[in-house]
Symmetry: C2
Subunit: 298 residues, 2 copies
């Protein structure tokens, strides 16, 4: 049986990680490698060497194979700055606005990030998530990508129409080391803090009131110290979901780009709100997105 | 002319500071001292010595003069734990529930903190602010005490009926060192970030969306890096005020216990909302509160 014929090298290059995949014409992964050579650890001018270190054998074995990259590699501190594509935008605009990288003796491209200006004056950006969004294959509906800066993306007719970021993960990290979390102990039960977070989110007074309950409910003996961190996490996710509903209305379903543990928490949160949930793993979505983008180009 | 006759020694003993005042029968301050011997820096069993170090001359000159203390000195990690008084409560309950301290060879008391259980399941506590609240002399209306954990207190018929905490100051400190504030430069203008914060607060999507605008509006060139920290501060204060409105309705006036720079920011925020603002300095409110409490007792 013949080896599968590779079609391109997919590069998912984020702030802290580098993932490379050898992908065949059907979009299947032939081989895969990952390292900690994230964009923040690459010295100026060091991107070609870092890529070669990550997949030297493939580059040598397939001298004409194109390389397609997504993520922070296209940011100001990356290999090249790939300008933002503006919402609304679809796969064809994305494929037409790839930023070419010279000097690799093969076709090499970086996928653009996407930005959006809202009528309300807000401005938002993404870099890396756009590839996952197109990798979902969702043409109409709402896509949620949980993370440090969770994104909620509205799709219509195959185009990204609007999106919004919520600093859920960043705020959780900042609060975990702050006073309100000082009584926290290691969580034990998977559902810890859920009832209390739902109650606090509904209580009125907004997020900055509800967050103080991470401390006071423990002082009162109403909540276990083991529930403090899950309470904070769930409360921030409740706030994110309420915010997304306010911006995007109440769809029948949401597509999640997530893996566990976030997948479980977001999934149960959405299902409690009566929404249908489908989902895909982020790494799978990135590969599918890169494959769709390169297919739209060629 | 005779020296004024002192009536008691007032002690405002917080986490990081100790303030002592010699107070006459009219509530006026005869002498004043302050140090950094906050509760957190006092070793176990070290409270009597720390108090003597702060006001040895007064203790010696007036061997029978009572000492009345408020603040974290009454917490679990303080001199004695002064149990919380429950809302609703007034000056008479407070005066009746002073916790006596033995071994000083004079009358010495700690004012209780106050807690509240809301019908919505929330639990809240204060320690130190209750003295300021009664020091305002406000019998009916809404009192706001900005801070690390801002308090909004509802008064009716001279009694504290309900109150809520908002972690405005804590969240500001946590976010100032976090990613969304990374583009920040030193603020220049006093009104920096106000327009953008008002716009972001109104934009919908909630606080965790609006906070991301501290970064994106600078990326877009819509906001100066000098406005980042004022933007964050004002946004959190907007959230606090919106939360307080949700809980306590829209009164005609609010009484602030604050000094600058917080006083100016809160005052202008409340006035923009069409509210009448009166205010008192926190140190003045504490002294007046201790004076009213000891007067209610004797």
């Amino acid at each position: 049986m013949a080896s599968p014929e590779p079609r391109f090298i997919a590069v998912d290059w984020g702030t802290t990680r580098l993932r490379t995949s050898l992908v065949d014409a059907g979009g299947a992964v032939i081989a895969h490698a990952r390292s900690d050579s994230g964009v923040q650890s690459v010295p100026p001018g060091g991107f070609p060497a870092a890529l070669r270190a990550a997949c030297a054998a493939w580059l040598e074995a397939y001298p004409a194979l194109p390389v397609v990259m997504a993520g922070m590699v296209g940011s100001r501190n990356g290999w090249v700055e790939a300008p933002y594509l503006h919402c609304p935008c679809g796969l064809s605009e994305m494929a037409a606005q790839l930023t070419r990288i010279d000097g690799l003796e093969r076709d090499a491209f970086v996928v653009p990030g996407v930005d959006v200006r809202w009528e309300d004056g807000s401005y938002d950006v993404m870099r890396g998530e756009e590839t996952q969004v197109f990798g979902t294959g969702i043409d109409d509906g709402l896509i949620c990508l949980p993370g440090t800066h969770s994104k909620w993306v509205e799709m219509a007719g195959g185009r990204m129409t609007r999106f919004a970021s919520f600093i859920t993960g960043e705020l959780y990290a900042a609060l975990s080391g702050s006073f309100v979390a000082r009584l926290a102990e290691e969580p034990d039960a998977p559902e810890a803090g859920q009832t209390e977070a739902t109650e606090a989110a509904r209580a009125g007074g907004g997020l900055t009131r509800a967050l103080f309950q991470a401390r006071t409910r423990v002082l009162a003996g109403d909540m276990s110290p083991r529930a403090v961190r899950p309470f904070l996490s769930r409360l921030l996710i409740e706030a994110e979901m309420a915010g997304a509903s306010e911006l995007f209305g109440h769809p029948a379903s949401v597509h999640l780009v997530a893996s566990d543990p976030q997948l479980s928490v977001y999934r149960s949160g959405l299902e409690r709100r009566g929404l249908q949930v489908s989902f895909v793993d982020p790494a799978t979505a990135t590969l599918a997105g890169l494959n769709r983008i390169i297919s739209a180009r060629t």
